[in-house]
């Protein structure tokens, strides 16, 4: 059943995808409210799917790659909906709708029966580690998108010759604020996620846990994240510099994700 709900959610998300494609192709926003409604409804079905999947398997559904992807898409949607509710920034949808669709599609296609995993994944800490980290990643992704939008809008305003982006993108300060909130919310989650993961790794992998590439990349990511926040808070970094830094941060997050494929220890079930 949970897979069925996931496909229903996907169907609704696909309306969002169509909206994004139409918006980009025609260079104007149409039927946004309809797409937003479908997307929010998809979000509800997605939630039902996650809960049911959790009840079926008797654990928090994050132990294999498909579950984690599904949860990540869910968190991005949550972040987008909160952001839209608070700031009315609809233009993020052009990025978020397709992204969530692709992630959910990947999750739906790769879902398979649960295998029995190594003991480390049976630990109660693992689901917490994964969900905290994914929430942090979601914050980082939204900050990244805000950063990209900021750079486009700033370029329009600096060039003093308004073109399509000037008319479609939200005000600079709004984007900047959105980015800083996304970072501010994401950071505590990524910190807790990292601590949980580290504690777990140290317990199970023995003394060489530090030398795992995934662990090192994650710490680097966390460090960049910390710098970004410090730069904003203390040095008054904002606007363009902060936007570029958010984009670098996202690149690091991708690298850290890629670390999954380098690490011999840090894996998901069924890969």
């Amino acid at each position: 059943m949970s897979l069925l709900w996931l496909w229903v959610a996907l169907l609704l998300y696909s309306l969002g995808l169509v909206h994004a494609v139409v918006t980009v192709a025609l260079r104007r926003e149409r039927w946004f409210r309809l797409a937003l409604g479908a997307f929010a409804l998809g979000f509800l079905f997605h939630f039902v799917s996650l809960v049911e999947h959790g009840l079926d398997t008797g654990r928090f559904p994050v132990t294999n790659i498909s579950d984690a992807t599904s949860l990540f898409a869910f968190l991005i949607t949550l972040g987008f909906l909160l952001g839209y509710w608070a700031y009315g920034v609809s233009s993020l949808s052009v990025f978020v709708f397709p992204f969530v669709f692709v992630m959910t599609l990947a999750a739906a296609l790769s879902q398979r029966p649960l295998a029995v995993g190594p003991p480390i994944l049976e630990s109660a800490w693992v689901p917490l580690h994964v969900s905290f980290s994914l929430t942090g990643y979601a914050g980082m992704l939204l900050a990244f998108l805000a950063g990209v939008m900021y750079l486009f809008q700033e370029r329009e305003l600096k060039r003093r010759k308004p073109r399509a982006f000037y008319y479609r993108l939200p005000p600079l300060e709004t984007i900047d604020h959105l980015g800083s909130v996304a970072l501010g919310v994401g950071f505590p989650f990524i910190t807790v996620g990292l601590l949980l993961g580290t504690a777990n790794a140290a317990r199970h992998w023995g003394p060489d846990w530090m030398s795992d590439p995934k662990v090192m990349l994650s710490f680097l990511l966390w460090f960049i994240y910390l710098l970004l926040i410090l730069a904003r808070v203390s040095a008054g970094w904002r606007g363009r510099k902060a936007a570029i830094f958010s984009i670098v941060g996202m690149a690091m997050a991708l690298a850290s994700w890629a670390g999954n494929y380098l690490s011999s220890h840090h894996t998901f079930l069924g890969r």
């Binding site: 003093r160 000037y166 300060e173 604020h177 904002r238 606007g239």
Partner: protein, 419 residues
């Protein structure tokens, strides 16, 4: 149905003609009554603004519209027909409906997308309705035109962007700061355009206004007028860093704010952005300031460039609006056709007689004698005819009523008449 529109506008007639043909607001009611009273006119409405004077008419069959309106205008405005006749245009049926839809949607306006014209069309409608010169058809045309205008406004961005320099400045400020609530504006030097921009900004939520001028007395005057605070010209650099938006228009021969000032402001403001509107020629603000992050400098040419871009954006949106109007004209004409009187009457007759025969067939008339059967049939026929006669007398008056078409629609629905 003979719908006609005859008139002249800024597209065809020079101002000298338009101003003479124009009806002052107080005279419209009497004029539209006069127009309605002319032979051949079944319904009339009159729209007169500084850019156009147009008569919207429903005429009896075979009434030529152009000479009728020309005569009316000549009489009402005491002009010779030759003075304006060559500027008149005449649209009929579909084109007339399309024209009035375009006018109401501000697609035919001098500044495309300017919102006043819809109000003027609404006023023309209200006047015509008040003096009783509207019947069902023109009432439908005009109310539908309002709906189309609203649709155009919500579904396109035709009126969204500023087409004057001072509004463009406010719009840019919004694109940088989002909300202008609580922002500080600094006015350096006086000038009509900068005062106008300051007033727009204040109306959009800007809180504090600082004013400075080479002559301190003028700064005090202006500060009072704008509800702001006067600053001595020598203290300019000291205060400028407090402002989010700086509007400068002094007669200084050189830059009064340089790039290093900008760096200083940014340090004071912890990089919060600043927006400089430099209206002065020669320029007051070093263009190099724009190279600094979070600093945005627009001179008068840049602002004009933004206005031009906005105009082009409106043009693009206008094309989409035209598509909407075309679709709506089709829909509207289909509706008019459906609500024509004669087919409605025929359908109603057919329906009632059909019901009669149906019921006769169901009733058990076999047991009756032929005389009795004939009596029942006769009775039912005359009952139906009585009912028909009553409603037809009423129906035939309907197109003259402003809400007549709505009533026809009501009857079609009540008796479930097929389209």
């Amino acid at each position: 149905m003979e719908i006609s529109l005859v008139g002249l506008s800024h597209h065809t007639a020079p101002i000298e003609v338009r101003e003479r043909v124009h009806f002052p607001e107080g005279e419209i009611a009497r004029a539209v009554e006069m127009l309605r009273a002319r032979p051949g006119v079944a319904e009339a409405a009159l729209l007169s603004t500084c850019n156009r004077t147009e008569a919207l008419l429903r005429l009896e069959p075979d009434t030529p519209a152009l000479p009728l309106v020309a005569d009316f205008l000549a009489d009402a405005r005491r002009m010779r027909r030759s003075e304006f006749e060559s500027y008149l245009y005449h649209h009929s049926q579909r084109d007339a409906v399309r024209h009035i839809f375009r006018v109401a949607s501000s697609l035919d306006a001098m500044v495309i997308g300017e919102p006043q014209v819809l109000g003027q069309v609404k006023a023309a409608y209200a006047t015509a309705r008040a003096v009783g010169s509207l019947g069902g058809v023109l009432d439908e045309v005009l109310t539908h035109a309002f709906a189309v205008a609203k649709k155009v406004r919500t579904e396109t961005a035709i009126g969204a962007s500023a087409v004057s320099v001072s509004y463009a400045a406010v719009e840019l400020a919004r694109k940088i700061f989002g909300s202008l609530e609580g922002r500080t504006v600094f006015l350096i030097g006086a000038g009509k355009m900068s005062e106008l921009a300051a007033k727009h900004l204040r109306r959009s939520g800007a809180q504090a206004i600082l004013v400075t001028n080479r002559t301190y007395g003028r700064a005090i005057e202006l500060a009072e007028e704008l509800g702001g605070q006067p600053i001595k010209f020598d203290d300019l650099v000291k205060y400028a860093g407090q402002a989010d938006i700086v509007i400068s228009s002094t007669g200084a021969p050189h830059h009064i704010l340089r790039k290093q000032h900008g760096e200083q402001f940014l340090a004071e403001r912890r990089n919060r952005p600043m927006f400089f509107i430099d209206i002065a020629v020669p320029r007051d603000i070093d263009p190099a300031m724009n190279e600094l992050d979070n600093m945005f400098v627009y001179d008068i040419d840049d602002l004009k460039g933004v206005v031009d871009a906005n105009r082009r954006e409106r043009q693009r949106e206008a094309q989409r609006a035209e598509e909407i109007v075309d679709r709506e004209v089709d829909r509207f004409l289909a509706r008019l056709k459906r609500l024509e009187l004669t087919p409605t009457i025929l359908a109603l007759q057919e329906k009632l007689h059909g019901l009669r025969e149906q019921e006769l067939a169901r009733a058990r008339l076999k047991d009756l004698t032929p005389e009795q059967r004939a009596a029942v049939e006769e009775m039912s026929r005359s009952l139906v005819n009585k009912i028909l006669h009553m409603s037809l007398t009423q129906l035939k008056r309907l197109p003259q009523e402003p809400d007549g078409l709505k009533l026809i629609e009501f009857i079609r629905q009540t008796f479930q008449l097929k389209d």
